[in-house]
Amino acid sequence: MPRETGLPPGTLIMLILRVLRQEPLHGYAIAQRIHQLSSQELQVEEGSLYPALQKLLLKGWVKSNWVLSETNRQVRQYRVTSSGLKQLETEIAEYQRMNLAVQTVLETT
């Protein structure tokens, strides 16, 4: 999945869960939102979103249903489940721990 995504490996799932925490979204919107929230810094190879979403469905972290979008087309909307929220928390904690460790190394002169 991380092929040319411009994302640090392993973070895509965390980011999807993070943007879904605010509101249920469909695939295209998820990609858009990640792009926006990262101040246009993070570029996803947008197709790779879908294997990741399947993985989330498999794990039971999100649920999906078909709805009509604001542009009036059938889209599949994903919303995060309670176990998904729990997963998000662990992933964020883990990520921050890692980040901190990396920073500590970098800041050591």
Binding site: G27, A31, S48, Y50, Q54, W66, Q74
Partner: protein, 850 residues
């Protein structure tokens, strides 16, 4: 929902869910400004699908479909492989089911594991029968047995016709209840019948007997029938599933306590040995039973020292393994394992054959494989695909093999006159089938698949299937396979040849005596209580009447019917490898049976029956190492008799046996009740039967004497060897045809591999002989090695089967040579036919072939 349930839910809805992903991806791309950034939609869709972890299933399904298609495209290959596998697996399962039912599985009776059989043992003798009074004494005086069962079988006359003999078992009244069987109709015996010997006589019918003789008439219960000319009441029909003990094929059952009603004055209850079975108390092991019986055995021996010796003990044997005694069990298993080895060999030949079929098919597809490999398929994937095809064949073969095994075992059991056994496959048979299948898969599936996977496929893509040389190392595995097939079929053919020779010997029958015009009269006087002087008078009357008949050439009384059933055999410490049958005769016996006296002289009426003996040649040679023993003492150590003559070997009981010898004495005055009469007819033995019966009836009309042609006894002894030899020959020929198919395939393949080379050679003027030689040379080593190894193993197998029951003679080379000749001729033919095709190759066409 757990993750696994979601996976399964996905599997069930995979089409719809796959479409949904496709749809949302499409709509995503439509919304994007530059769809290029989306990535390869097809690859991503596959990735999304693989998340759910069903990829292996898809691939397997693909393989199966591919395999089916492949088999459909070459139905002759599929059919051949299927037949070969069914045959190989079926044959092995047939044997396994027989072994399973007779030796592995406990008999289908209540609590078989606490059921044992007791036999008498001491330092000097082993006896399978326990005297009836002893069984009753042991029953009352022991702490380890919950119940004692007894059974004695004999033929009885049925209805009004003395010639109508049916098999009857006299059993203790608890017999059916202890074994857990009630009656299908009516009732079985109850204990009251044992308590009161004067209870009204009753009889139970076997289900088959009821079907054949009474036409399944339910009104048979309480009808009066006649057994040995005595009325008895039918009280029930035994269920069809009742297995009996030790493959007993009784047609009627009578309580043991009534035996002297049916055989007036029978001594069975006083002296004769019966089969003794017992139900062990809970928690009693075999050795505990042996120890626990010792006090009772010792006590009874003290009371009856004339019948029992001091050191005697009862040896229990478990119900599994057919109640066999430990020493017999080992012999039985040796034979069974040898035969199993032979049938396994058939399977190996079959698989080697299939292996080369699969291999040559795969070789034709080398180009396909290399292209797929070049396009990125994994080697493992290709191996898997080849294996799938083998698995499909194997599955089909296993199913038909199982059916075949079931049917064949049933047919064989009927042919060998076993009681009806339930051959429905149980878990043991299923397990055996699966292991046999797995074994064959390794041989004919994995071997060629790995061979293909190891091959340098890129080079094979370069020159396709028409390389100009280098065919040799490519056929190495196939040559090994052909060698295996030749070796295997060599063993089987030689064994079949040996069996056929054995049968021939049997048919040409020099059993050492001449039975063709001989008639036997067997009145079993003892069973009717006719003894001593009365028995002597009886024989006197019969003899007198028969001697006057003009068909009679000579008459003799004898204690052991030639070709009849074995009554007792002794093993002497001086010749432990011989079972010695003792027969008590009168001097007329030897000329009547045409048994020559080779040294010394025949008995004379004046000889003392206690001190004179005639022994057979084999016994003399084994015990003394010479035939020059007339006048010496017998037995060698502790002699009590003088040898007055040496008789020719006459295998009175087992026609082919080489481990059996005879000793003859004059019968003693008190033995008349145990004798039977043999008569030699001048030309028409069947004309003597009726006069014999009449004479017997006139001598004593209570006795229903059984008169028969000795030829019939011979015929019935032939039945089993005939059948075995037939089966061996069929199996041998089928294996041979497999080996020929293998040779044919190898040469054809070599021809197709080297078309170009042959073309060049022909163009350069090679002679046809040298081309034939070129092709056939590669057969030389595998075939020669196969024959050498095969013959060597066959000699070993033949030697090991030299004893009971096959009596193969490895030093009788006619059978083996004939087998080898057949092998070489048909094998040669199978090689020449495809090789000659190479000679017709048109060099121009061959060279232009590329």
């Amino acid at each position: 929902m757990t993750e696994w349930m979601r996976r399964i839910w996905y599997l069930l809805n995979r089409r719809r869910l796959g479409r949904e992903v496709e749809r949302e991806m499409a709509s995503h791309r439509e919304s994007m400004g530059e769809p290029v950034r989306f990535g390869n939609a097809l690859r991503l869709r596959e990735e999304a699908r693989d998340i759910w972890g069903w990829r292996w299933l898809d691939q397997t399904w693909q393989d199966v479909r591919h395999g089916c298609r492949g088999l459909r495209k070459s139905p002759s290959f599929g059919l051949t492989a299927w037949l070969i596998l069914s045959f190989g697996i079926g044959l092995n399962l047939t044997l396994f089911q027989m072994v399973n039912l007779i030796l592995l599985k406990p008999p289908a009776v209540k609590h078989p594991h606490s059921l044992v059989r007791f036999t008498r043992h001491s330092k000097t003798m082993t006896s399978s029968g326990v005297p009836y009074p002893a069984t009753q004494f042991y029953r009352r005086n022991n702490t380890v047995l919950a119940a004692v069962l007894t059974q004695t079988s004999s033929d009885v006359a049925w209805g009004d016709n003395a010639g109508d003999r049916v098999r009857c078992s006299f059993v203790s009244a608890n017999f059916f209840e202890e074994l857990g069987y009630g009656a299908a109709y009516g009732r079985v015996f109850n204990e009251a019948e044992d308590e009161k010997p004067d209870a009204p006589p009753v009889v139970l019918l076997s289900h088959v007997f009821w079907e054949t003789r009474f036409d399944r008439d339910p009104g048979v219960i309480s009808r009066t029938v006649r057994i040995n000319d005595r009325p008895a009441t039918v009280i029930g029909v035994v269920p069809v599933s009742f297995p009996g003990l030790r493959l007993n094929t009784s047609q009627v059952w009578v309580p043991m306590s009534q035996i002297d009603y049916f055989h007036t004055g029978s001594e069975t209850k006083n002296e004769w040995g019966t089969e003794m079975y017992a139900r062990l108390r809970p928690g009693i092991s075999l050795s505990a039973a042996r120890e626990g019986m010792k006090p009772a055995v010792r006590e009874f021996a003290r009371q009856r020292p004339q019948v029992f010796s001091e050191d005697e003990y009862l040896e229990p044997s478990a119900s599994t393994g057919h109640f066999a005694m430990a020493k017999d069990r080992q012999e039985i298993w040796t034979i069974v394992l040898l035969i199993a080895g032979l049938t396994l060999l058939v399977l190996i030949v079959a698989c080697a054959n299939l292996s080369s079929l699969v291999l040559s098919r795969a070789n034709h597809r080398l180009r396909e494989f290399s292209i797929r490999l070049a396009l990125g398929a994994g080697r493992w994937r290709i191996v898997r695909q080849l294996l799938t095809e083998s698995l499909l064949l194997l599955g089909a073969g296993l199913v038909t093999g199982m059916l075949l095994g079931y049917e064949a075992a049933k047919t064989l059991a009927a042919q060998f006159k076993l009681p009806p056994l339930d051959f429905t496959p149980d878990w043991r048979a299923l397990l055996a089938g699966l292991s046999i299948a797995l074994f064959s898969l390794l041989l004919f599936g994995l071997l060629p698949a790995l061979r293909i996977a190891r091959q340098d496929l890129t080079s094979s893509m370069k020159d396709g299937a028409q390389q100009s040389s280098g065919g040799l190392q490519r056929t190495r595995l196939q040559r090994v396979l052909v060698g295996t097939q030749v070796a295997g079929s060599c063993v089987l053919l030689i064994v079949a040849g040996l069996m056929a020779r054995g049968l021939q010997r049997l048919l040409a029958a020099d059993p050492g005596f001449d039975f063709v015009n001989v008639v036997v009269l067997e009145p079993s006087l003892r069973l009717y209580g006719i003894k001593g002087e009365a028995a002597r008078a009886y024989w006197g009357n019969v003899r007198h009447a028969l001697a006057a008949h003009r068909e009679t050439e000579s008459l003799a009384l004898v204690s052991l019917a030639p070709l009849g059933r074995n009554l007792n055999e002794t093993i002497y410490p001086d010749a432990t490898d011989l079972k010695v049958m003792s027969s008590n005769v009168e001097p007329e016996f030897f000329p009547l049976m045409r048994i020559p006296i080779l040294a010394g002289r025949n008995f004379q009426a004046s000889d003392d029956y206690r001190t004179t003996i005639i022994i057979s040649k084999r016994l003399a040679e084994r015990m003394y190492g010479t035939m020059n023993v007339v006048g010496q003492g017998f037995p060698k150590t502790r002699p009590d008799k003088t040898i007055i003559g040496i008789a020719g070997d006459a295998n009175l009981i087992k026609i082919q046996a080489n481990n059996v010898a005879e000793r003859y004495s004059l019968f003693y005055p008190g033995q008349y009740e145990d004798l039977l009469l043999i008569a030699r007819a001048r030309a028409h033995p069947d004309r003597l039967l009726e006069p014999m019966r009449t004479a017997a009836r006139q001598a004593d009309d209570r006795v229903l004497a059984h008169a028969r042609l000795m030829k019939l006894d011979f015929e019935s002894k032939l039945q089993a060897p005939r059948l075995t030899s037939l089966i061996a020959t069929l199996v041998g020929l089928l294996t041979l045809s497999l080996a020929c198919l293998g040779i044919f395939g190898l040469i054809s393949y070599a021809v197709s591999l080297r078309t170009k080379e042959i073309g060049v050679r022909v163009a350069l003027g090679a002679r046809s002989n040298s081309i034939l030689g070129l092709l056939l040379r590669q057969l030389l080593w595998p075939v020669a090695l196969g024959i050498v190894i095969g013959t060597g193993s066959a000699v070993v197998v033949g030697t090991m089967l030299g004893g009971d029951p096959f009596y193969l003679r490895i030093n009788d080379p006619a059978g083996s040579l004939a087998a080898l000749l057949v092998l070489v001729l048909t094998g040669g033919l199978a090689a020449i036919v495809p090789a000659r095709r190479a000679l017709r190759i048109d060099p121009m066409r061959a060279l232009r072939h590329e």
